[in-house]
């Protein structure tokens, strides 16, 4: 790499962000070098400044951010001090961007291929007709199904993984010198992620494009990057080539990142075979309107135990939860609570029946009303379910805050926007506990959180389970989480249960082929993992996996 020409040089980059009418420095003097054809991984937790730095390498800042110091040089061009019109001639043409959510970053009003050809057209690189032909060729190389026609659909007509590849194709449309990949696979299922990772790696290699690959997932960056730079709150922690970094991280922070996913609570004894389960899902089928989405699903959840329901998006995980809570009455089958059937519709359930099953949501941000104080968020369910009022209610709310390890005197009167992501999720847990339930559904509760924070949440949930004898249904697509906290595992695909059983059994071969596909798709820290896996599966196999989900 060292002999390759230097493409990007960033020196002493400082960026400020505006919050509450004050400018705070969020990037504190970063240096960055990128050679032609090289892939640099930027890694860190949320708030590390990864995306901000990535965008700054394009000479771009989001609204509410400004570059205050430093130089950004791209192929001899000073990106900080050129006119907006000159910068526009470089953006898209010589530096391209691939965003985290392709679904949100494609314009819903235009066909995919028209958005693809826009760049070459405005930059006068190709005619629209040439660019269309080129788009189809890129779609083929990225192994998109039906490359001749897929571009002529609107973004909402194409799946997330396919859109993400179409966006990579769009970034390639002008054959840029460099592409910024901003968490391009974070929103995807593990099996889809592999296809996108492989596609990105291939195409970057084929065209010798330099790339900055931004992610919070170490195992992913290990597959993609030649060099890795670790960031923490706008500062560089360390930088090294990928193999060195993985084998011998120097800094404590890097080691701590490497070492997460170690939480392994002691296993629980199996439930006595005669015990009546807290929740029993029996032969449940359900449909949205006329479209059936769930077929004959059955499993039990026992007191004090955790059942993890895993599967890709669209597998019906969340629909099962909607059936159990009564939000979506099943078309067939029933839900038993301690052996007695629950009314299918939540409106027909008694307050006590409602109290027994609570939910914690994925996005604590949107699940908490930002204009209501914590005292009210927790006080309302306390009053509704237990009838406590006034001073008693206050004492109960304070006790709940203590249970989730948040200081009552500090947080009682705060509003959700003043809390961090992990704290908000803790409030979500306390709100579920306020009802004093026997059973809690955790819907992807850690997937929006950084790993260290997520581990704290898992520890808390485990402690509460042991103290209160709670039964959990854990909906997740993250198999690392399953490995650490589940007692039983239910694997779902296309609305059916593919395989179910105690965790140790599920994680030892032989597996059901689909479970195997899921398990083998979880990226590992080994930089050769993706290469080996692809070799093992063969390229056709990946194509099959893609078409199987169509």
């Amino acid at each position: 790499m060292s002999e390759a020409e230097l493409l990007v040089t960033v020196r002493g980059l400082r960026i400020e962000g505006r919050s509450e009418d004050r400018w705070n420095e969020i990037v504190h003097g970063i240096d960055l070098d990128l050679h032609r054809g090289e892939v640099l991984g930027l890694i860190g937790e949320s708030g590390a400044g990864k995306s901000t730095i990535g965008l700054a390498c394009m000479g771009f800042t989001r609204d509410g951010c400004r570059i205050t110091d430093g130089t950004i040089e791209f192929d001899g061009i000073d990106l900080r001090n050129i006119s907006p019109a000159r910068r526009r001639r470089i953006l898209g043409r010589r530096i391209a961007y691939v965003a985290q959510s392709a679904a949100a970053s494609f314009n819903p009003a235009h066909k995919i291929i028209d958005q693809h050809t826009e760049g070459p057209m405005i930059h006068h690189v190709m005619s629209v007709a040439e660019s269309r032909a080129d788009a189809i060729e890129l779609y083929r190389r990225l192994r998109l199904p039906d490359p001749e026609h897929i571009g002529f659909r609107y973004p909402h007509q194409v799946s997330g993984g396919q859109l993400q590849r179409a966006m990579t194709a769009m970034a390639m449309s002008c054959r840029p010198d460099m592409i910024i990949f901003d968490e391009p696979t974070t929103a995807l299922d593990v099996t889809t992620q592999i296809e996108v990772l492989a596609a990105i790696r291939d195409i970057v290699e084929q065209y010798n494009t330099a790339a900055i690959y931004i992610t919070h997932d170490l195992a992913v960056v290990a597959q993609m990057a030649d060099r890795i730079k670790v960031l923490l709150r706008g500062d560089e922690v360390e930088e090294a080539d990928t193999r060195t970094m993985l084998a011998h991280p120097r800094e404590e922070y890097t080691k701590s990142l490497w070492a997460v996913r170690t939480f392994a609570p002691p296993p629980k004894p199996p439930a006595p075979p005669t015990e009546v389960p807290v929740i029993s899902v029996q032969n449940v089928s359900a449909s949205y309107g006329a479209a059936p989405v769930l077929f004959d699903v059955s499993f039990d959840i026992h007191k004090g135990r955790t059942v993890a329901v895993v599967g890709e998006s669209g597998s019906g995980k969340s629909t099962v939860a909607r059936c159990i809570t009564g939000l979506l009455p099943p078309t067939k089958g029933q839900i038993l609570h301690n052996g007695t059937p629950l009314p299918p519709d939540y409106r027909k359930r008694s307050r006590d029946q409602l109290r027994q099953a609570q939910m914690i949501y994925q996005m604590a941000d949107t699940a908490l009303n930002p204009k209501v104080r914590i005292s009210e968020i927790l006080g309302r369910p306390v009053q509704f379910y237990t009838g406590l009022r006034g001073a008693e209610r206050r004492r109960r709310v304070e006790a709940l805050l203590e249970q989730i390890e948040m200081e009552p005197s500090e947080f009682y009167n705060r509003f959700p926007p003043e809390l961090s992501g992990g704290q908000k999720q803790r409030i979500g847990i306390a709100r579920a506990l306020a009802a004093e339930p026997e059973f809690i559904i955790c819907d992807e509760v850690t997937s929006a959180l950084d790993q260290l924070v997520a581990e704290g949440i898992l520890k808390l949930l485990d402690r509460l389970q042991r103290e209160l004898g709670l039964a959990y249904m854990f909906i997740t697509h993250d198999l690392a989480t399953v490995r650490s906290i589940a007692d039983e595992v239910v694997v779902m695909k296309n609305g059916e249960v593919v395989e179910a059983g105690p965790k140790p059994e599920m994680f030892t071969p032989p597996h059901h082929p689909y479970t195997d596909l899921l398990l083998s798709s979880v990226p590992e820290m080994d930089p050769d993992w993706l290469t080996n896996l692809l070799k093992q599966r063969g390229v056709e196999n990946i194509g099959d996996a893609a078409s199987a989900r169509m």
Binding site: R88, L91, G92, R93, Y97, A104, F106
Partner: protein, 322 residues
Amino acid sequence: MSGFGFDLLRLIAKRLGLGLITLFVVSLIIFLAVNLLPGDFAQEILGQGATEEAVAAIRRELGLDQPMVQRYLSWLGGALQGDFGTSFGNKRPVAELLGQRFLNTLFLAGVAAAIAVPLAVGLGVLAALYRNSVFDRVANVATLTSISSPEFFLAYILILFLAVVNPVFDSLSNVSPDLDFWTRLQRTMLPALTLTLVVTAHMMRMTRAAIINLLASPYIEMARLKGVSPARVIVHHALPNALAPIINVIALNLAYLITGVVVVEVVFVYPGVGQLFVDSVKIRDIPIVQACCLIFAATYILLNLTADVLSILSNPRLRHPK
């Protein structure tokens, strides 16, 4: 695609049905409201000194002595067949009196809309493009001033500058069917401009707000990062996604152009529905008042229906289902 066409037709049919029900309810309200107006036609034309017998005789002649329910039913029955009754004042059929005037009002509204809609959307797009600039503020203040001023005041100002000081247009809009298009347009111009001043602000501000609302979207950022120029970002990437709210506010304002023209027509003596409406209320010429109200209500309902359908058509998710 065929399923979508079917869905759309079903939707239109459903909205039309709802519109008819609304129209029926409105007809009931109109009838009751008009009949609750103090005084009636007989008293109004005979004046204070009329004898009981004379008033009763006229009432009998016009059918005002019948019970209200019966009067409503016979009015509704006639209206359903296109017969709105005869005017109390000059005994001519209401349909004949209204017909030409309604066409005149439509012409005025059409001219005003042809100026106001492109102007408002254009100004809105420019204001969004140059948001928070001097242009944005001037456009905002100017349109707000014009919407906040009483219509008759705007009308007299326009007359002063465009008819008296610089005699470009006629201050009296004396149009009749035998005029050629250009003369007619020239005579309609001042009321049309007045109406334009009244409706532009609302549409412009909605266009600006709907576009700016979208500028934080990831796909707008994506367009910028592809090197797309600011003008193209607004027109090509933001505007197509902002159409639904813009269409709705345009429909609302078009309805206003037809139903809200009373004052403007009076100022310019424009022979439209509004003029006739005001004259008829004065003399309690109930059949005309009722017919006018019904036309206004139908206009509102039809325009809103059109706006609904167009907003749906502007959404690619609904136009091209999976």
